[in-house]
């Protein structure tokens, strides 16, 4: 069943829509219940289980993916809104059988335990590093006028939207720091 719609559409035509968007650089087209979130579209219709459902309300970050290159919580995005847009999930962070430097750093630093928040942490970190590259400030940036310096305090603040009950936080910060330093 993987790769195709796994669940049935249970609503009538008025309440469902044909939608086409790219997932991990491959075009996907399907008919979805308008209520279906991006998270559930990935998990239940596209067989992409990397993005996790931890709270389904935008409060934990486990479902983080990149939407047009920006990190978002996929549980709060309705898939029907995504026509023509591009989604990258944890499965698309590196080529087949490869690890991105960030993924490799997560393993090397033991930046996870149960692993459930990890795909969200990785996508969030990926998006966050791009935000830093764009010069975006954070709540702990002293000088709003200067490009941010990615201190540990900056990493902690910028990763605050991803909860980890195993509390791998110090190792997540280390993995992000290490990845940022070698870019």
């Amino acid at each position: 069943m993987q790769g195709g719609p796994e669940t049935e559409i249970t609503t009538d035509e008025r309440h469902s829509s044909r939608v086409a968007f790219d997932v991990n650089d491959a075009p996907r087209e399907m008919t979805l219940d308008n209520r279906t979130t991006l998270l559930d579209a990935l998990r239940e219709h596209l067989g992409l289980i990397g993005a996790k459902k931890g709270c389904d309300h935008g409060q934990c970050g486990s479902c983080t993916v990149l939407l047009d290159g920006r990190r978002v919580k996929s549980c709060l995005v309705l898939a029907v809104t995504l026509d023509g847009r591009s989604v990258i999930t944890v499965e698309g962070l590196a080529g087949p059988d490869e690890l991105s430097p960030l993924q490799a750093a997560f393993i090397a630093q033991d930046a996870f335990q149960c692993g459930y928040c990890t795909p969200g942490q990785l996508c969030s970190a990926r998006g966050m590093l791009d935000e830093v590259d764009r010069g975006w400030p954070s709540a702990v940036t002293d000088d709003l006028g200067a490009p941010p310096d990615l201190t540990d305090a900056e990493i902690r603040e910028r990763m605050a939207g991803n909860l980890c009950r195993c509390a791998a936080y110090p190792h997540i910060v280390a993995a992000v720091r290490e990845t940022a330093a070698t870019r």
Binding site: T10, R35, Q113, T118, A160, N162, A167, Y169
Partner: protein, 696 residues
């Protein structure tokens, strides 16, 4: 064996799957024709369902069934009344699952659950724990089988006669485990056999419970638990999700995925009981304890008695001639409390280690020194020497690493701008136990080995640790060993909990590997698969009863904003003595995780109950705060090289709980040192400090 893989740092075996999103959790297996279950919670606290009207739900597109007590498959009444779900119209607490809607999509299931109409006859209820509750009683024993009360000497006389006394009461709220993966199950029935992919901490026990409930032979039930998104005790036994999913799948005769919502995790799957703890300590002028009393009050449900062993920590931690501990319970109209990381020891140590700090202040002795002075080589409870007790070594090493010697003991002695800075210490201990376990080891002609054992890796690194243990027991490099875990068809293993997983599992792995080596040709590989199995029941059961404990010392430095009352942790450092550490990488992560959960307990978490509704109103992760990334500036864990020959073949004590024990006390003690204000009800949040006159 010590020169081999055990003790060396290895990355997790499943690391690659976890960082690429290919590790499958309970509701992530592709299943043909799968349907979706959505649990319906009761809207009243206590009462009786008078009518279930499924019509509107069934008329909703995609809804296949509404399963409730009137139509659900029958379960055998078992020893776990909490799991006797959808069998009777009785409601025991608000949020109890009283129906499941099954639909062909998640969206339809959610909406269907909203549309089920249920009428009740509701009765009066009581849901708040108080120290004068008329229902307070003395249970026959406390978890798992400790005596309810203990007494030695004459506490009242000893206390009355002492020159220095502390009499303080601490309160802790309900805590909710909140693993990142909710309790979740995919259930499938094939020819009368039940297959579940389930998120739990022990597939063997879940299989046994399901077999009992559905009146099946154990061989007819298979529980697969490859990856688990945390549990922290809450997945220690079969819980509602797996039972509901199996009931629903049988009812609709199709596979069912059922995950509880985050909101539904606040209660029905268990939680740490709130506690009210009075601690009285008496000492001579040198700080030597003469009398200790710890009176603990906690709650249980009307369904079943769960008597948390809150004061057990105090029985063995520090010595005194006059000692007493008591436990009292109240049966409330609440879900049954359950395990949460170091049940008993965690809240108990918060109280005792806080009181020790208050005693240190009262007697004018450094709190590290006070603990050293009251160390004991003999277990005050059992009267026998500890197999090993390195509390003092942990305190000394921790003090040195932390820079404790520079500390000015006076509260409010350090200021950094608008921050008041202080530091605190606490002891930590947790019993080192083991349970019977079985395993098999197989040698193959190609020189490789396979070890099979139904271990559950809930994020502890169990898979990797057992692989290391097996390699050493086989005397081969770990690359030649494969390990198979997380399936109830594998040899039976006990739960990943109580800090006894590694001890229990490694025991069976080592015995199976030793037995296999006895069957193999000297120095060569067999010409066909050769297997050996081991069951440690006799050996574990025959072990002498001795006081076996892991120890630790927790150090914390906090800063408190003198005007807003905000509390932040600057740094925390723990030193532990927990026997052989199998994998330093995963061990460090687990200890830091425990310490962080202690930080969360000290400063952030609180289940806030509204008596009128009888449930916790802050039942999500936006309103029930757990510690986040920005809260953890520096947490470090270290351990001593400890060898204890009275434990188990691998010499391990377990590290899952010790990291949280004492952590909250160290932080609370640091807050007192920073501010001079003693907050005795957790969490220590700004609302308890802002505007307090001592602060400014």
């Amino acid at each position: 064996m010590s020169a081999g893989a055990v003790g060396r740092a290895y990355p997790r075996l499943e690391g690659r799957e976890k960082v690429t999103g290919t590790a499958r959790y309970a509701v992530e297996y592709p299943v043909d024709g799968v349907t979706y279950g959505w649990a319906v919670p009761s809207a009243v606290v206590r009462g009786r369902i008078t009518r279930v009207d499924p019509a509107q739900a069934l008329a909703s597109p995609g809804v296949l069934a509404v399963v409730h007590h009137g139509n659900a498959p029958r379960l055998a009444p078992g020893p776990e009344p909490d799991l006797w779900l959808l069998q009777e119209p009785t409601v025991h607490y608000r949020g109890q699952f009283i129906a499941v809607v099954v639909a062909t999509s998640l969206e339809a299931a959610r909406e269907g659950a909203r549309l089920v109409r249920i009428d009740y006859d509701a009765g009066p209820h009581s849901t708040v724990l108080t120290d004068d509750h008329p229902g307070l009683y003395k249970p026959d024993h406390i978890n798992p089988s400790y005596p309810t009360d203990t007494a030695e000497g004459d506490f009242d006389a000893g206390y009355a006669a002492a020159p220095v006394r502390v009499d303080v009461t601490y309160r802790t709220p309900a805590y909710h485990n909140n693993p990142m993966e909710p309790h979740a199950t995919t259930a499938q029935w094939h020819d009368g056999r039940l297959l579940v992919h389930d998120s739990n901490q022990g597939a063997s026990s879940v299989r046994a419970t399901l077999a009992e409930l559905f009146e099946l032979p154990r061989e007819s039930v298979r529980v697969v638990t490859q990856h688990v998104g945390g549990g922290f005790g809450s997945k220690g036994y079969a819980k509602a999700a797996v039972v509901l999913a199996a009931l629903a799948a049988r009812h609709v005769d199709r596979p069912v995925r059922l995950a509880l919502t985050r909101q539904q995790l606040f209660g029905p799957i268990g939680y740490r009981t709130p506690t009210i703890q009075r601690v009285r300590l008496a000492a001579d002028a040198d700080g030597r304890l003469t009398a200790i009393c710890h009176d603990a009050i906690s709650q249980t449900s009307t369904m079943r008695e769960f008597a948390e062993q809150t004061a057990v920590y105090t029985r063995s931690m520090y010595a005194a001639p006059h000692r007493r501990t008591t436990h009292r319970l109240v049966r409330l109209d609440v879900p049954t409390p359950f395990w949460m990381r170091a049940p008993g020891e965690c809240p108990g140590a918060y109280a005792l280690e806080s009181a020790m700090d208050e005693l240190a202040v009262a007697v004018g002795i450094d709190p590290v020194e006070l603990r050293i002075r009251n160390d004991t080589e003999v277990d005050p409870d059992q009267g026998r020497p500890f197999t090993s007790r390195n509390l003092v070594a942990c305190l000394r090493e921790g003090a040195q690493r932390f820079g404790w010697a520079d500390r000015d003991p006076a509260p409010r002695s350090r200021r950094d701008g608008h921050w008041l800075v202080g530091s605190g210490v606490a002891g930590s201990s947790y019993p080192a136990r083991a349970r019977p376990c079985s395993a098999t080891a197989t040698a193959r002609p190609d020189g490789s080995f396979l070890v099979r054992i139904n271990v559950t890796d809930i994020g502890t690194g169990a898979r990797t640790a057992m692989w290391q243990v097996a390699a050493d027991a086989l005397g081969v490099p770990p690359e030649r060993v494969a390990i198979s875990i997380g399936d109830s068809d594998l040899p039976t293993a006990p739960v990943a909990g109580g800090s006894m997983g590694t001890a229990s599992w490694s025991w069976a792995v080592i015995r199976a590997c030793q037995a296999l080596r006895g069957k193999l040709p000297e120095g060569g590989s067999p010409d066909r698969d050769v297997s050996a199995e081991a069951d440690t029941s006799d050996e574990v059961g025959g072990q002498p009863t001795l006081p076996r404990y892991a120890y630790g010392a927790q150090f914390a430095e906090v800063r408190v904003d003198a005007t807003t009352g905000e509390v932040r942790l600057n740094r925390m450092l723990g030193v532990f003595a927990a026997g052989q550490v199998v994998n330093p990488t995963t061990a460090r992560s687990q200890l830091i995780g425990g310490m962080t959960m202690g930080l969360s307990m000290a400063l952030h978490e609180e289940g806030v109950l509204d008596e009128r509704y009888g449930d916790w109103v802050n039942h999500d992760l936006a309103t029930y705060h757990i510690t986040g990334c920005a809260d953890v500036e520096s947490i470090e864990a270290y351990w001593l090289d400890e060898r204890d020959g009275e434990l188990n073949p691998a010499g391990v004590k377990g590290i899952g709980e010790i990291g949280i024990v004492g952590a909250a006390a160290a932080i609370a003690n640091a807050v007192h040192h920073a501010t001079g204000v003693r907050i005795r009800d957790l969490p220590i949040r700004l609302d308890k400090l802002v505007g307090v006159s001592e602060l400014a």
